[in-house]
Symmetry: D2
Subunit: 249 residues, 4 copies
């Protein structure tokens, strides 16, 4: 499919794995803006998508910081003008420390929330007006879609995981509140519970005695997100879980 | 796509609405067996699919009865020989009565379970060996898939709804247990929480002052089921919810 | 406290463990009717309570059978006359088999539901009019209470556990539906998720290398049920979980 | 019961309603430290408990601020010396604004988390060592207990409620993580879902056409918390819901 010139997609939290795969998948249909703090995390995919005949821009963004997010969306407006947003994926997480309640510093405990709670809110606040624009656009092929990447810790909070799980529970609550507020206005909001190890370079050595079906493929996640995006107004899925065949749950 | 001659799909609980839409959707790819007690409920879709160049058979089946289900699968074997099953959808529900606990007869209370509990178990027991056959078939394009159609009442049990909700909670438990047992063997099991009124002839007068986005489209459900079916072994979704844009939840 | 002569309690599913402990606890305040299929399962506690100055009767009851439950309540009426029921505890489970979906017979699969689904419904239908009588009794010290004993399998359905979990999910749905229907009429309905091994003679050898806090005490459960019973109309708890200190969850 | 001189209780977030009722209830057994930002919110209860022969101190504390919480626990140590903590109740919430995602300022959105997320963490971190001290005290009558006051919004996130629900979801995750980490060490952690309007002076005009059973009594909550506290190591409840008889849910 040729990229549509009228709408764009934005992926917040790009890096090897889900972010890159989602960028590639949505980049087949839409120009994409890829946000990550470190340009190393998006540059390869920006190049790859542009080389393949699509259109991608990368924007260095601190997703826990209001002014950085504001700058990113100003850059998006400069690039894409008055275009509406077709799809936005919030895929970022804060730093993750496995520590006892007794050993976490305040800064460590709140690090997850800075991104998954506050950052997801700030991103949503910036992107929702652009999604609403698409909701009112009769030419848009699919309802505008906002997807949050959750985790096992979004619904189960284990020992030593409080920093991560409090942030992910908060993001799930945010997703549900936005879904309920904006569905009647035509925006499709979905939360994905990614339950398992994603198969990326960093996890190469994990579960290495297991077959490939013990890990989640980032491409599989991207395809599932794309399928969520294509659901019509009569059929919104607000939550899915995703796990590999060999996951215990 | 031309129907594959090697694998088939089966839809239990066919009638105007989700069953018909799922039959059509999976019938684009596979020969399909359509099960319903009353032939009037599948005959139009059998004809439609065959007329369109696909292959469909209808089998009159009481989905609360072991011998009737056994006969149906014998007929399936006669028709499709040693073919594996690519996808099975259990879409049946028992009779549904909105009544006080104090007013339900034993027969009325258990009517839901006869289909959604016992029937779903019997159907699963019959179809799982055929799904396992596909799991071992390198030529199969997608992992074999077993999908259960749930409802709001699968996760919320309101007053006067005990017959329906006890049956639907039980079916959700069945789905989860089968998912956990058979995922490691390559079978993808998913449960769909259909939350809202489906737009079918019988519900034409419901919500008539509301726009079309107040009801779920059966085609949308069928597409979502198809998308579940296409997920690879690395990316199984075991539960989705589906509701229309204007649903309160 | 001396047993009140005006109200009684009933415990369905009595045996060594939760049933006996609940009988003893509620027997301190009320005359109690103890139901179990096998008289061996209630006779020791009937004797114990009567010897201690309380009042208890035992009634042999098949809790999966409507006529047996009907007979039990006729016997209760004979014994307690027009007294209202202060508290009813449904503590029975069907036979429990850990088996693959492929290996369960229809009778084995449905055995759990016969008691936890259908039986719990029939028991509720019989006891609710007697609980409503107490709801209208200004002299009753506590709101009439109906408690269902659930399990881990009421909210998580593992592989090989389908017979048990489908039954327990169904009972949880029943409890929620009754709670919502009868709370406005003054009946307090609660569901208890008992998560762990109860310390009874039959489980003596289980977890024997662990300290006592690895098992649940039946007396602890009974106290928790009593505390639920004493909650006023302004403060109903509809679900609690209970697990021992050393349980993984 | 005479207050024990060896152990104390602490209630964070005291004001008319749950905090005051919990202070009174636990103050019958233990010396109590009452924390609130505004002394007006604890002074009446400090006086009342001391006048009744108990022992209470009030400490002005900003429960979203690490140094303020640290000061409060220094004051507690000064007052109670090396005594262990028998029970701690975190009952505070941040400011609550019902607003669209589009209208919330960053400060407004995060206000809930500052207390219910970060504050609950800081409080837990300060009090857990004192609870662990009690866990090792053979003379303690009950296992040391840490209770968090949640809300409907802890498990359901409605439109316009994102600030409150993200904070409350986060606190529930915190509670579960602490429960799983510290139960094996003998600390009982519980989360209470308070579902409904609490009957306090501020809500006098709410639901005024309804009978008293439409609101939750703060005393009922306090009794339920006390009952949680008395559960033995073999019988920990980690979550309860509480709602009035006439609540829709």
């Amino acid at each position: 499919m040729a990229p549509s010139s009228k709408l764009f997609a934005v992926v917040a939290g790009v890096g090897p794995g889900t972010g890159a795969a989602v960028a590639r998948r949505f980049g087949q249909q839409y120009p994409v803006a890829l946000l990550a703090r470190n340009p190393d995390n998006y540059e390869p995919y920006v190049k790859e998508i542009n080389d393949a005949g699509g259109k991608a821009i990368g924007i260095s963004t601190d997703l826990s910081d209001a002014s950085s997010i504001k700058s990113a969306f100003q850059r998006i407006e400069t690039e894409f003008g008055s275009a509406g947003c077709a799809a936005a994926v919030f895929n970022a997480s804060g730093r993750f420390l496995r520590k006892s309640i007794l050993d976490l510093s305040e800064e460590e405990f709140t690090a997850g929330y800075q991104v998954s709670g506050k950052g997801a809110f700030l991103f949503s606040q910036a992107v929702l007006p652009l999604l609403l624009k698409t909701a009112g656009d009769q030419a848009a092929q699919y309802p505008p879609t906002l997807i949050f990447t959750g985790a096992t810790a979004s619904v189960k909070s284990n020992a030593l995981m409080s920093s991560f799980s409090t942030a992910k529970y908060a993001m799930r609550a945010l997703s549900q509140s936005i879904a309920r507020e904006f569905a009647p206005k035509g925006v499709h909001v979905a939360h994905a519970i990614i339950d398992g190890v994603i198969d990326i370079p960093r996890t190469k050595e994990w579960l290495k005695d297991m077959p490939p079906e013990a890990k989640i493929s980032a491409e599989g996640i991207a395809d599932s997100y794309w399928n969520l995006h294509t659901q019509p107004k009569t059929t919104f899925t607000n939550e899915i879980d995703i796990r590999p065949m060999l996951e215990k749950w």
